[in-house]
Symmetry: D2
Subunit: 251 residues, 4 copies
C-alpha cells in the first residue's frame, strides 16, 4: 500500500497530494511525477523556486488537509474517541452523521486493514464531501456510506462501536444499543450541555455501564529560548464527549 | 483470541480476571470457571451474595486494573500519544522507560495483531512490573522488554515511533532520530517546563518537523437530573507531551 | 482601628486570634497578651516550644480561618465578584444568602470605612455562623443581617450591587432590579448550567446590560528549583458567575 | 464627585466620554451637553439616528475604553491582584512599570478616596499613555507618576503593596521588600515560567511568607435558549501572578 503524501512548506503549510496516476496533482502547486515523490519521503523537493518536504501523511495531516465543513472534529476529540472506544485493527464501527468525514477518516485508518466503517448521513452533500475525503486518504475500501436516518434504526448488528455526532443523539441511542455487541462502545459528541443531559438520560434508561461525559482541552505551549509559556492563542470549547458500554443485564 | 475479562461491581469497581486456565482467579473474590465467565460477557454473575457484570476489558479497564507505580500514564495522555504518533496495526514502536507498563499495554493493543513494541528500562523492578501487566493483558507476544539505557543508543532502525518517558528525554533524542524511519514520530512526556525546554532544543537541533508541545486536560462533567456542571473533583496536571516527526533534510 | 491578627506556623497553618480584650485567645494554642501580639506584627513569637509569625490578616487569611459551612466562596470567585461589581469604599451592597459569611466578610472589607452591606438569609443557622465570622473580622459595624426571603422583595433602594448566592437566583432577579440604582451591578453564583440558563433568561427579560457568565479557574503552579509545572492537585469547579448592570431603558 | 461616563451602543460597543467642560466630546460621535448626559445615567440618548445608553463607567468599562499598548492587564488578572493584595480604601501602593495604565487605573479606583498610588516606568511614552488614561478616569489626584528604574531602589517606605510588571521582576524584589510595611503584599506578573522561577527564587531568599504562583483563567459561557456551553472563542494565556507577604523574621 503506497502512502498518502503531503508537501509541507517552510512555514508549515501542508498541501495534499492526489496520488492518482503516474503524474500527481497538488492544488496550487502543479503536477509532479508520482515515482519521484514516493522516492523522496522525508526529503526536500524543489518546485520552481520554492522547496517542500515530502511527508507520509499522518492522521493529523489528513485532518488538516481535508475539504471541510464548519463542524470538523478536532484532533483532541478524535484521539479521545479512538482510545476510549477501543477503535483498533479489525473493529466494526457505525458512525452518524458523516459530516465532512474527519471522524470517518480517523476511524477508517484505525480499523485498517480488516475492519469496517459504516457512515450514515441524511444529507447528500455531507456524504459527497466525506466520500471525497475518504478517497483522498486512500481508505475507500474500508468505508461504506449510506444515506439514512439512524434515529429510525441501525440495521447492523454486533458492531464494536457506534459514534453519534447528531443534533439529537438521544434519539438514536436505542438504535445504537441494538446495533452494538455486548461490551461495545457508544460515543456521542455534543456542543451544548442540554444535549448532554438528554443523551445521558437516554443512555441511563438502557443497559449501559461506564457512562462518562468529558470535555477534552488541549493547551498548546510556546517553547522558545526566551521563555516557555502556554500559548496566548485560542483554547476554545468544541464539545462534550459521552461514553458508555452496552451490557445485557442491568444491576 | 479470547478476551481479557474484568468483573465490575454495582459501584463501578473493577476486578481483573486472570484467565490462565480452565479455572480463573480474581483477587479478593475467589476462583471461577473460565468457560462460564467467557459465556457471560455483558451479563451479570453472582458470587456469594454479591453480583458483578462480566466485561471484556477495554483499554481504559486495563489501565485501571493494572499493578501500578506512582507515575502511570493517564488515559487522556495515552489517547493523545496513540493518535498523534499514528500508532496502529502493524506499527513498530520503541518505548523508554517501561515504567509500570501502562503505556506499554496501550501501545501493544494498538499495534495488534502484527506490530511490535520494544520497551526499555534501566530498572529491573520496572521491567518486572510492566512485564506482569503486559502478560495479564494477554499481549506478551507483542512486546519485547530490554534492560538498557536508551541514551547510549537504540539499536532498532526504521521504527514508526519512539516514545520517551524519561527524566532527561533530551539525552535520548539523537538515538531516537537514528532509530526512526523517515516521517516516524517522536513523542516525549515530561511534567516540568524545564524538561520541555531542553527537549525541544534538542529536537530543533536535528532534522525534525511538526514540533509541538501540548498539555491535555480532561474535564469530567457531572450530569444529573438536578443539574449539569463540571466535576468539583481534581483536574490536575500530569505532564506535557512533545511531538515531532523525523525528516531527512532540513529546510 | 487595630488589625485582625492571625498566627502562622512554619507549615503555613493559620490560627485566627480573637482580639477581644487585653488578653486574647487562640484556639488550640492558649491565651496571649494582646499588646505584645500587636507589637509583633510581621515578627516571630514563641509559644512553648513552637514558634509562629504574627500576621495582620489579609482577605485570604480571613477566608481561610473562618468557621465554614460546606459551600464557602473560593478566593478566585470573591476576587471576581469584587472587581466586576465595583465593590469599593462607600458602596452599598445587598447579599443573599449569607451562607457562612465568606462573601459577607469580603464585601464588608471592600466597602470600608463608610459603605454598608445588608446580608439576607432564610436560615437562622447561616445567619449565626456568618455573624460570628463578621464579628471575628472586626466588621460588625459594616454589616446588617436580616432573616428574610429576598425572592419576596428587597426593601433597599438605590444600592450599588446585589449579589445572589441562592439555589434559584432567577426568582430574586426582579427584586434585585428594583433595589439597584441605575448602572448598579447584579451578580449571581450557581454551580449548575441549568441555574445559569434560567437566571440569564430572567435577567434578559428586564432592563439589564453587559450580561456575561464566566467560570473562573485558578491554577496553582509548583515552582521548585528542580522544575516548574502546574500543580498535580485539584482544579475543581466551584460555580458560574453571572454579571449584569441595571439600566432604565431598553434598546 | 461626578461619574466618568461611557456611551454604549446596541451592539455593546463602548465610547468613552471626556467630561472636561460643560460640553463633552465623544470620539467618533461628536459633542454633547455634559449636564444632559449626567442627567441621563442608565437611560437611552439619541445621536442623529443612532441611540446609546449612558453608563457610569465600571472598572471593566474603564479598562475596555483605554488607550492601550500591546500588553494591557486582563480583567481577570486585575481582579486577582486587587483581592490578593488587599488593595482597598486608603492603601498606599507602588507599581512598576506603568505600562499603558490599566493596572494603575484599577489600583487608583480601589484605593479611593484617601489612598495613593506611585507608578514608576523607565519609558517616557508609557508614562504619557498611562497618565492620559488616569486623567480620563478622573483619578489624577490619586496617582503620582515617576520616571525611574525601581531595580535601583524604591524610595517609598511602609507601603501596603508593591506590584511589579517588569521583564525582570526578580531584580526589583529587594527594593520591594525595603519599601513594604510588615505584612505588606508583593505581586509580580510574568508571562513566562523562567521569569516566575527566577522571581520566586529571589522572593524565597528574603523574609517573605505565603509565596504562591497562580494562573487565572476566565472561561466565558455562551448562554442561549438553544443551548449552554463554554465559548468557542479564545481562552489564552496572559501570565502568571506571584504573591508574597513581607515579614520581619524568618522561621
Amino acid at each position: 500500500m503506497r502512502p498518502v503524501l503531503i508537501l509541507m512548506d517552510p512555514q508549515g503549510r501542508k498541501y495534499p497530494v492526489a496520488l492518482e496516476e503516474s503524474m500527481v496533482r497538488v492544488r496550487g502547486l502543479g503536477t509532479f511525477e508520482a515515482a519521484k515523490l514516493l522516492a523522496s519521503v522525508g526529503r526536500k523537493v524543489s518546485v520552481g523556486d520554492r522547496s517542500f518536504l515530502v511527508l507520509a501523511a499522518s492522521s493529523r495531516d489528513l485532518r488538516d488537509t481535508m475539504d471541510r465543513g464548519p463542524q470538523t472534529f478536532a484532533h483532541k476529540d478524535l484521539a479521545s474517541v479512538l482510545f476510549e472506544a477501543d477503535i483498533g485493527a479489525g473493529a466494526r464501527v457505525v458512525e452518524a452523521g458523516s459530516g465532512s468525514g474527519a471522524l470517518t477518516v480517523a476511524l477508517a485508518r484505525a480499523v485498517r486493514p480488516n475492519g469496517h466503517v459504516v457512515s450514515y448521513d441524511v444529507r447528500e452533500e455531507s456524504l459527497a464531501v466525506a466520500r471525497g475525503n475518504v478517497e483522498r486518504a486512500d481508505l475507500a475500501g474500508i468505508v461504506e456510506f449510506r444515506q439514512a436516518d439512524v434515529r429510525q434504526g441501525i440495521p447492523e448488528r454486533g458492531v464494536d462501536a457506534v459514534i453519534l455526532d447528531l443534533p439529537d443523539p438521544w434519539a438514536a441511542v436505542p438504535a445504537a444499543w441494538e446495533a452494538l455487541r455486548a461490551c461495545g462502545h457508544l460515543v456521542t459528541f455534543s456542543p451544548n450541555m442540554e444535549q448532554v443531559k438528554e443523551t445521558v438520560a437516554a443512555v441511563r434508561g438502557l443497559p449501559f455501564v461506564g457512562v462518562r461525559t468529558v470535555e477534552v482541552i488541549e493547551r498548546e505551549m510556546e517553547v522558545r529560548e526566551v521563555g516557555v509559556r502556554p500559548s496566548f492563542a485560542a483554547l476554545g470549547h468544541t464539545g462534550y464527549l459521552t461514553f458508555a458500554r452496552k451490557v445485557l443485564d442491568k444491576f
